[in-house]
């Protein structure tokens, strides 16, 4: 127990000093990892715990990005406040999509298609809104000011991304230990059995969707002020929804460490294939990334973390 606590403190201290000792490319790698791990946690609440697979989380992300940026550029409202506006709008949007999906009993593939369609509608609408810059997108003028979420250098972003991940993980941790979290997992296992036992499955799925959407939107605000450029075909693209969901799935959906582990692994995998294969043949790195991804999914169908936990337990058992 003491060993575990010490390990935790050492890891936390390590993460706090790490960015000061690594080159800028590494900083970027870590920021992306934390940020996708955070989005993975948000997605995991709905997809991993409640078992309602969403292929449309880019839409929530877009609400977070665009609402905070519009509020800042046009009304001068700080993104630190605006991001909650985005989260609120994302939650409202989730309730609309969720109502359609859950009230009419869409399950499995049909729910996935609904979430995908909802995100695609958002993308197409965004492309035709002149205030969002159409195909050109929005460039956010860079004026360093912490109150406006704009920082010089990468280190502040590193800490914001780390804080987001810590916050998202804390939310999931609390959910996991609550009645709400217990119900979500049971809903994933068998909705009819839940109903028979008095669980209002519709209500809990709606709450999970709203929470997941709102958390995802906060990640969108971070993205906007890290990239300083928003374009509907990247922000609201299905690829982006896949990016959000793939990490918790690879790492182990429905577990708190899954999204974190998945984010680290895929970031390393991506970096590795870029470094060693991108130069030799265009697109080879993406192909290799894909092949490695297939290997992981094929051999660890429940995700890396649950398999790892199983091995460690067996190893621990044999050592005793």
């Amino acid at each position: 127990m003491i060993g575990r606590a010490a390990l935790g403190i050492a890891a936390a201290a390590g993460l706090l000093v790490l960015p000061f000792y690594v080159p800028s490319t590494w900083q970027n790698l870590l920021i992306t990892t934390f940020y996708y791990a955070y989005l993975g946690q948000a997605w995991n609440l709905l997809g991993g715990y409640a078992g309602q697979l969403s292929l449309g989380h880019a839409a929530f992300f877009g609400f977070g990005a665009y609402v905070s940026v519009l509020l800042q550029m046009h009304l001068g409202i700080s993104p630190w406040i605006g991001m909650f506006g985005g989260a609120l709008l994302a939650a409202v949007f989730s309730q609309g999509v969720g109502y359609l999906g859950f009230r009419f009993g869409l399950r499995g593939f049909y729910f996935i298609l609904l979430t995908l369609a909802a995100a695609e509608i958002c993308r197409l609408v965004a492309l035709h809104l002149s205030i969002l810059g159409g195909y050109t997108g929005i460039f956010i003028p860079f004026k360093p000011n912490p109150w406006q979420y704009q920082f010089q250098g990468k280190i502040p972003y590193y800490f914001i991304a780390l804080a987001l991940l810590a916050f998202g993980s804390a939310v999931v941790w609390l959910v996991q230990r609550s009645k709400f979290g217990s119900y979500l997992v049971a809903i994933r296992e068998d909705e009819d059995a839940c109903e028979a036992l008095g669980v209002d499955t519709f209500r809990y799925k709606m709450i999970a969707y709203g929470l997941s959407g709102a958390l995802t939107a906060l990640g969108g605000t971070f993205y906007a002020y890290y990239q300083f450029y928003l374009q509907p075909n990247t922000v609201l693209n299905i690829n982006h929804s896949v990016d959000i969901m793939i990490r918790p799935i690879v790492g182990g959906s429905g577990t708190i460490l899954g999204p974190v582990l998945g984010a680290f692994l895929l970031e390393l995998l991506g970096e590795f294939s870029r470094t060693y294969f991108a130069a030799s043949l265009a697109g080879l790195n993406v192909a290799i990334y894909g092949v490695l991804l297939i290997v992981v999914v094929l051999f660890l169908p429940r995700g890396v973390y649950p398999s790892l936990r199983g091995w460690l337990r067996r190893a621990g058992g044999s050592a005793e």
């Binding site: 609550s178 009645k179 217990s182 049971a186 009819d192 059995a193 109903e195 028979a196 036992l197 008095g198």
Partner: protein
């Protein structure tokens, strides 16, 4: 006192009249058996009572309140809980956690729910399997998990759908004993059962359904002598067992 009143319940699936104008009452504190040949509409009737299927016609009142339009969880919250004929344990959850989900119906905190769940596991003889996952349980244990988590919701009326099916004689005897103990705690029970030994020894009253129609109701001793019932359901096989 009457706990449940069903009046004129009908349900058709296309051209199949699964349940036709069935009316019956469940008295507070009784054990009511529901029997009938395969396909008689027993499970359909349970689906309707528990809110999983809307009836085409007819009304159901539970504890004086109409149940029309209520969803299954509403009905469970009011104190009526059902088990499934085809058991549906939460596969990737432990046996304990399966029962905790039921217990959370009455208590907001997991630690209280865990305590209730442990009591229910002790009652149903599952304590030693608390940590086993829901998948890979034997039929007998799956039936017990169904029962334990239904009981954890603290029901007033318990609907049991063929909890004896697939059990060996020893297991059946133990489950009959368990149902008696549950009943002794003041829980009203309505049970669908094919195992005659169970339904005859447990029920104070029996309803007989055949081709969706209620063809007889009465005490077990009357039911086994009712010629219509013997013809429709018990058949010669059971008649031979009678002296």
């Amino acid at each position: 006192m009457t706990l449940l009143v069903a009046e004129g319940i009908s349900k058709s699936f296309g051209g199949l009249h699964a349940v036709q104008a069935v009316s019956f009452r469940v008295a507070d504190g009784e054990i009511l058996g529901l029997i009938g040949p395969n396909g008689a509409g027993k499970t359909t009737l349970f689906h309707i009572i528990s809110g999983f299927l809307p009836p085409d016609r007819g009304t159901i009142h539970y504890a004086g309140e109409p149940l029309a339009g209520l969803r299954p969880h509403d009905i469970c919250q009011r104190g009526m809980v059902r088990t499934f004929q085809v058991t549906r344990p939460f596969q990737r959850l432990s046996v304990l956690e399966n029962v905790v989900i039921g217990a959370l119906q009455r208590v907001p905190h997991r630690r209280d729910a865990i305590r209730i769940a442990e009591e229910m596991l002790a009652l149903t003889g599952l304590s030693e399997k608390a940590r086993n996952p829901g998948h890979g349980l034997t039929i007998a244990d799956r039936k017990r998990v169904e029962l334990a988590r239904a009981l954890a919701t603290r029901p007033r009326l318990l609907l049991l759908d063929e909890v004896m099916a697939g059990l060996n004689p020893g297991e059946t005897d133990r489950l009959i004993e368990l149902i008696r103990r549950v009943h002794a705690q003041g829980i009203t029970i309505m049970l669908i059962e094919h195992v005659m030994k169970a339904v005859m020894s447990l029920s104070q009253r029996i309803l007989v359904l055949s081709y969706g129609q209620l063809i007889a109701q009465g005490a077990p001793a009357e039911i086994v002598r009712n010629p219509q019932v013997i013809e429709a359901y018990l058949g010669e096989g059971y008649a031979e067992l009678e002296p």
